[in-house]
Symmetry: C2
Amino acid sequence: MIRQLREQISDTDRSIVEAINTRLKLVARLKRYKEERGLDFVDPEREEWMLSYLLRANRGPLSAEGLRELFTEILDLTKREVGRSQAP
Amino acid sequence: MIRQLREQISDTDRSIVEAINTRLKLVARLKRYKEERGLDFVDPEREEWMLSYLLRANRGPLSAEGLRELFTEILDLTKREVGRSQAP
């Protein structure tokens, strides 16, 4: 039982890491596209919209407070990682 | 093009939130199971193992440093949320 649950947790964690990698690739493409057109990369209004979209989509048990915290961390991480991978 | 990328990013974020919810449910079940048997819930050795497993599984572009940071945040969040949802 413990082993089975742990395997399911590991599978879930791997899928989270894969989704984060997908997110980084998409954001890097969006950044490149916007930069080529002289547009600002960071868009606080869009970030606000996305947070409220996710708050509506969230079916729990993750709390609204926990989601806010997770999303803040993912946005910070994305900015650092996309900056890093595009450094010369 | 921007709209298309944003939609894909939103889909990815929704799948991350869903995976976190799955993780919380699994960990809550594991916690209950272990507590009923008088076992410690937090297992630092297991957490170390999971981190090295994810580092091996990670195909990038997420860096090892970024993965460590993300995983630390997810473990902290999980402990707080699972504690919260089981409070009387």
